[in-house]
Symmetry: C2
Subunit: 408 residues, 2 copies
């Protein structure tokens, strides 16, 4: 992961594989993916007293596993996750919820836990009932393969159109000692900042109070998966779950230096994964970052999302075209009835528009700058004190191919 | 224009060319378009007492000609329009407004009218200053070619990425006699329903009170250009102008049968042009129509626009894929925190989703139905009494090519 936009804090370092103490995971093929690839993942914490926190999509059309988690799980003390790719179990009605409950029940039985501490997650095609038998078979197979180094296999099993795996493993040095944080994410399409369409599972052997886990996950999701867009499309299945086994014996007390440093590391891990999702955006060649500042937070947020979701801006990013007129148009288009709007625009630090009007710049130099893998846009609106950022992928021929020729 | 979605009322018939009485128009090449094609249009009403009405984009970033029209024109008594393609004169600051004013002044002098009754419109690239000399030269050349059958030439001169001209000419039989309505429109990209990114000029030899002209244009724009989307991108330059010369001697009294019938014909003409814009949407192969009904108008509106602007829905339309899960996702994604949402979905009259869950249907038959040029989606939300429609183009490889490889 080489991005100028995200870096680990000094007190965190990439860890050489292996889940945090107390966790085991596995990923197997159960036959949902036509490719025959891994499509069922199982993750377990063996530690009694494991603490957890979760966040879900806010879509009006919730997938069955999301409904199940929200209605029938103890989200602050989850011990296991069962997840599948290849079928979203969304728009499947009561039968879909029953199927998700059966999946939960089978996983609970396989790992010897109460169903209410087993979370369920699905990703894949919408509107198709989940077949029962492959899931049950897959869970049994996964149980046999649960291992402390099974995080990568679990990450493989939740991929759909993802071209590459999205995992992280860091050791975090705290005043009280060293803890490990690992995470597995998936996401490539149907990604929108609210929060992004994705699955992400995070494990740590630090000991957290439920309130701390919830607070840290909430803040870090807002700064990561809430700030990315592939195509502005909110999914039915978004799920992020943090589990803290406490098996390291190191307790993160609220408002301590431990909490601060742990939070910084968690933030960096989630931002890395979020950026990987954008970089792996369906068909993406380049990644953009738009930073908007001004005096009014909702206006700044709306402008940033308008730029990140504009097909014209995204196509220009793909084409390596420093077409700032489309940035101005996207901002103006969402801030209706605000003319005359004093908007300033910079691309890669070069000012191209000042107070709503063209500013002379070196076009050849800027064309070179926007031909790189990452392009940064800055938009200044009137006022001060509010700022936001959104990371986004471009709009390419491959995005059209992937979404026109395949039923995803 | 063969669409099952728009038809002329019985009392209107296609007219064999020629502007309504009292109008002359021309279109010439002045050198703004690299292709050397026609890029400057001039339209004049020779009748004193001509009445007009206008609507403009609500973008926060208004193009100079829009600012000029709003600040320095008598919009209820316009006598002429000068329009150019190849340069939007947008994001050009004070100098841009000065250039638009010079364009207005030159046109006013050429046709012998006060500048304040001459409207200015531009379309093309954003952020480039309008060159003075070609415009002046073009206006003089156009003056020499003004003719009663110049409507098509005028329509040619306002095209940008449009693949085909968008004009209409109908004779409308009213209780009081027959009047003519003609119109020229342009638009292919940066098209969003609020209202669509386009230019449209409408002429009639009926006599209208200013209030009637304003009311009729307002209502018809809401039912046409407000209801289409190519890419959800609101432009900086949208302009629609209706001019009524009254030269037929037939007066449309408020709340008369004349007004009703004239309104029906105007509505059909603008809807035809709006649908032509969607059909000519950049790279478009197929056109979709989404109809949403339910109990709450803002919800119904938001859902329809979400479907029409979803890149996933648009790519599926392009691919001929009856992937209704993406319709459910798009609706749910914009109606956050409303789960469980009882949504019904029909494609080409076949129900595919009932109360949020899959309904069995004949996939092969539906695949055939969505392979045609026009595809209709119907979404039912809870409640009754609110309904809307949006017409939209698909998302194709050519859209990406046009917007990645060309600076438009």
């Amino acid at each position: 992961m080489n991005s100028r936009w995200v870096s680990l804090p000094d007190h965190a370092a990439d860890a050489p594989g292996g889940l945090p103490q107390g966790f085991r995971a596995a990923g197997v093929a159960c036959g949902l993916k036509p490719s025959g690839g891994p499509d069922l993942g199982l993750l377990v914490s063996d530690t009694v007293g494991t603490v957890s926190a979760a966040r879900f999509t806010r879509s009006g059309v919730l997938a069955a596993p999301v409904i199940l988690c929200q209605e029938r799980c103890r989200l602050d003390s989850l011990r296991a996750v069962v997840a599948n790719a290849g079928n979203a179990n969304a728009a499947t009605g009561r039968r879909g919820v029953d199927n998700a409950a059966r999946m939960q029940g089978a996983a609970a039985m396989a790992v010897g836990l109460d169903p209410e501490v087993v979370a369920v997650a699905s990703t894949g095609v919408i509107g198709v009932q989940l077949p029962d038998q492959p899931i049950t078979k897959g869970i049994l197979a996964a149980r046999g393969e649960l291992a402390p180094d099974g995080g990568d296999a679990f990450g493989e099993a939740i991929r759909t159109t993802d071209l590459f795996p999205k995992t992280a493993a860091v050791d975090v040095t705290l005043p009280s000692g060293t803890v490990r944080v690992t995470a597995q994410a998936k996401g490539a399409g149907m990604i929108s900042p609210n929060f992004a369409t994705m699955l992400c599972f995070v494990q740590t052997d630090a000991a957290l109070a439920p309130e701390t886990a919830d607070l840290l996950l909430g803040v870090c999701v807002k700064r990561s998966f809430d700030r990315i867009s592939v195509d502005g499309q909110l999914s039915t299945n978004d799920t992020a779950i943090l589990m803290a086994s406490g098996a390291s014996g190191i307790r993160i007390a609220p408002e301590s230096d431990d909490e601060l440093r742990f939070g910084e590391a968690l933030d960096a891990v989630l931002r890395q994964l979020a950026l990987l999702i954008v970089r792996d955006g369906e068909g993406a060649k380049r990644v953009g970052r738009v930073v908007v500042n001004g005096g009014h937070q909702p206006t700044v947020d709306a402008a940033a999302r308008a730029v990140a979701n504009s097909p014209l801006v995204k196509a220009a990013l793909y084409g390596g075209d420093p077409n700032w007129g489309r940035i101005a148009q996207a901002v103006g288009g969402v801030l209706v009835d605000t003319a005359p709007l004093d908007v300033d625009i910079w691309i890669e630090g070069v000012q191209v528009c000042g107070r709503g009007a063209a500013v002379p710049f070196d076009l050849a130099a800027l064309e070179q700058a926007v031909a790189r893998e990452e392009v940064e846009y800055t938009v200044g609106l009137p006022g001060e004190g509010a700022e936001t950022e959104v990371f986004f992928s471009d709009l390419s021929h491959d995005y059209v191919t992937i979404n026109a020729e395949y039923t995803t």
